[in-house]
C-alpha cells in the first residue's frame, strides 16, 4: 500500500516533482563534488545545466546515467544528481538502452531503504541515501560496466527509483517487470554464465585442437582428455627417468642450461601426438605403439603404469633406456 501510493502519485505530479527536484539538486551537488572523476566532476555537472540532450557519447564514465532522463522536463539538470532516481515516461526508451542493471540495482537499494525509513526521512536522510546510492552505483559500474552490458540493457527494463520529495525515495517498477529478488537472481545467473563462458574460451586457447569444437559438452570432453593425456605423459616420463642410468656428471647446472633451451620446440610435438586420437583410440594406438617395440605385452587400459601391470611386464619386457627412447621417439614424431 505504501508502495502503490507513491507510484500513483508519481504519475500525477510530474511537473511539480521536477520543480522540487531542482530544489533538491543543489544540496546534492556537494556530494557529487566529493567523488572522484570516476563518476563525474563537479564542473561537468554545473556546466551541463543548459545543454540539451547530448546522447550517450560523452567521455564521462557514466554517460548513460547522466543523460538518461534528459528530455523529461525543463529542469533536467537535476538528472545528474538523481540520474538513478528520476525518470519520466517519455524517457523510457532511452533508459532502456542504458545501464539497466545499475538503475535496478540501485533502485532495489533505494527500495529497501525506503521501506526502512518510512516516515522519518528528512532531507539529511535523502542526502545520505543518494550518497550511498552513488557509491554503490560506482562500484557496480566499475566492476560490471566492461562486461557485455549492452545485452543486459536491452534485455532488462530498468527499474528506476525516484526522488519525489526530499523525504522519500521510491521505486517505480516498469510494466511487466519482475520483483527485486527475481531480477537480482537473474542477473547473478547471467553473470555466472558469462564468467563460465569466458573461462571456457580461455581453456579453448590452452587446449590444442579445441577450435573446431563448439559445443560446451564437447569442449569439456576435450579438456578432460587433454588433462588425462598430460597426466599419463608425466607418468610415462617419470618411468623413463627411473629406468635411465644417470651419467656420472650429474651436474645440475649443466642439465639446467641444456634443459631450458628451446622451450617451445618440444611442446609442438605433444599436441600433434594428442590431437589425432579419440580417448579410446588414443589408448589403443598407444598400446599398439608399445606392442610394436617391446615384446608382446598386455597393457590394459588406464592401468598402464600400475603395479599389477608392471609385474606382468616383468618377465618378458626389457625396459631398457634404449627401448624407452624408441618408444618415446615414435610417440613424439607420430
Amino acid at each position: 500500500m505504501n508502495r502503490a501510493l507513491p507510484e500513483m502519485l508519481q504519475w500525477q505530479q510530474q511537473q511539480s516533482y521536477f520543480s522540487e527536484l531542482s530544489g533538491v539538486f543543489p544540496s546534492q551537488t556537494s556530494h557529487l563534488l566529493a567523488f572522484d572523476g570516476g563518476f563525474m566532476s563537479g564542473d561537468s555537472v554545473v556546466t551541463r545545466e543548459v545543454k540539451p540532450h547530448i546522447g550517450l557519447e560523452t567521455p564521462s564514465p557514466w554517460p548513460e546515467l547522466g543523460f538518461e532522463f534528459e528530455p523529461c522536463g525543463p529542469s533536467y539538470t537535476v538528472n545528474y544528481a538523481i540520474s538513478r532516481t528520476s525518470s519520466c515516461p517519455p524517457a523510457v526508451p532511452a533508459a532502456e538502452l542504458v545501464s539497466g542493471k545499475m538503475g535496478s540495482a540501485v533502485g532495489s537499494e533505494s527500495f529497501k531503504k525506503r521501506k526502512a525509513d518510512k516516515l522519518q526521512n528528512s532531507k539529511a536522510a535523502v542526502e545520505d541515501d543518494s550518497t550511498k546510492k552513488i557509491k554503490v552505483y560506482e562500484e557496480e559500474g566499475e566492476s560490471k560496466i566492461t562486461g557485455p552490458s549492452t545485452s543486459k540493457h536491452k534485455k532488462e527494463n530498468s527499474k528506476v527509483s525516484d526522488v519525489r520529495k526530499p523525504d522519500y525515495i521510491h521505486v517505480r517498477a516498469r510494466r511487466g517487470q519482475a520483483t527485486d529478488s527475481h531480477s537480482l537472481a537473474e542477473r547473478v545467473r547471467i553473470y555466472i554464465r558469462e564468467k563460465i563462458s569466458e573461462r571456457m574460451k580461455y581453456l579453448q586457447d590452452l587446449v590444442p585442437g579445441c577450435n573446431k569444437i563448439t559445443g560446451k559438452a564437447g569442449m569439456l570432453d576435450e579438456i578432460i582428455n587433454y588433462v588425462q593425456s598430460l597426466q599419463r605423459q608425466v607418468e610415462f616420463l617419470s618411468m623413463k627417468l627411473a629406468a635411465v642410468n644417470p651419467r656420472l656428471d650429474f651436474n645440475i647446472d649443466n642439465i639446467f642450461t641444456k634443459v631450458e633451451e628451446f622451450p617451445s620446440v618440444q611442446a609442438v610435438a605433444n599436441p600433434i601426438h594428442y590431437l589425432h586420437f579419440n580417448p579410446v583410440q588414443e589408448l589403443v594406438s598407444e598400446t599398439a605403439l608399445r606392442r610394436t617395440i617391446s615384446a608382446p605385452v598386455t597393457i590394459p587400459d588406464g592401468s598402464f603404469l600400475d603395479s599389477s601391470c608392471f609385474t606382468q611386464i616383468q618377465p618378458s619386457a626389457t625396459w631398457d633406456g634404449v627401448e624407452l627412447q624408441n618408444l618415446y621417439n615414435i610417440g613424439r614424431f607420430h
Binding site: 581453456l203 559438452a217 578432460i224 635411465v244 642410468n245 639446467f256 603395479s307
Partner: protein
C-alpha cells in the same frame, strides 16, 4: 642453434622453479641407490618415487596460491602416514564443501563431464564450476610445463 636461455632471464618463472626443485629431488633419488641394478622392481620403485617427486616439486612451485596445489600438497603430506584421524576430518570437510558448492544452478548443462573433471583436477570436488574451470586452466599450464621439463631431462640423459 641459438643458445638462448629463456629461464635464465626469468629465474622466478614457474618453469625454472619446478626445474630446480625437480632436479634436486631427482639427484637425491639417484644418489640413494646406485642404479646398477636394473631390475624391474627396482625401476618401479624408483619410478614411483620420481613421480611423487615430480608432483611434489610442481605443487611446491605453486605453493598455496591455487586450490589444486593446496589439495595436492595435502594429499602428499598425508599419503605416507595413513592416520585415520586426519583422513576422516578431511573427508568430513570435503563432504560439507561439496554439498554447498555444487548447487543446481551451477550445473547449467554440464552434468557428467564436470564430475569427471573434478576427479582429474586435485581438489576439484569442492569447487563450483566457475572456479573449477579456472583451476583447470592453471593446472593444465603447470602440467604442460612439467611435461616439457621432464622430457628435456629425459632427452638429456639418453642420447
Amino acid at each position: 642453434m641459438n643458445k638462448y636461455n629463456p629461464d635464465r632471464m626469468n629465474p622466478s618463472s614457474l618453469r625454472s622453479r619446478f626445474t630446480t626443485r625437480f632436479l634436486r629431488n631427482l639427484s637425491k633419488i639417484h644418489a640413494q641407490k646406485p642404479s646398477s641394478s636394473s631390475s624391474p622392481a627396482e625401476i618401479f620403485r624408483r619410478y614411483r618415487r620420481i613421480k611423487v617427486a615430480a608432483d611434489k616439486s610442481m605443487a611446491y612451485s605453486v605453493r598455496s596460491r591455487r586450490t589444486w596445489s593446496r589439495a595436492m600438497l595435502w594429499k602428499l603430506r598425508t599419503r605416507p602416514c595413513s592416520t585415520s584421524i586426519r583422513k576422516t576430518r578431511h573427508e568430513k570437510q570435503n563432504k560439507n564443501r561439496t554439498t554447498t558448492a555444487t548447487t543446481g544452478e551451477d550445473r547449467v548443462g554440464f552434468g557428467v563431464e564436470a564430475d569427471e573433471l573434478r576427479e582429474l583436477v586435485p581438489g576439484g570436488e569442492a569447487m563450483d564450476l566457475c572456479n573449477l574451470l579456472h583451476e583447470t586452466a592453471h593446472y593444465i599450464k603447470c602440467l604442460t610445463t612439467q611435461v616439457q621439463v621432464m622430457k628435456k631431462i629425459a632427452d638429456f640423459y639418453s642420447p
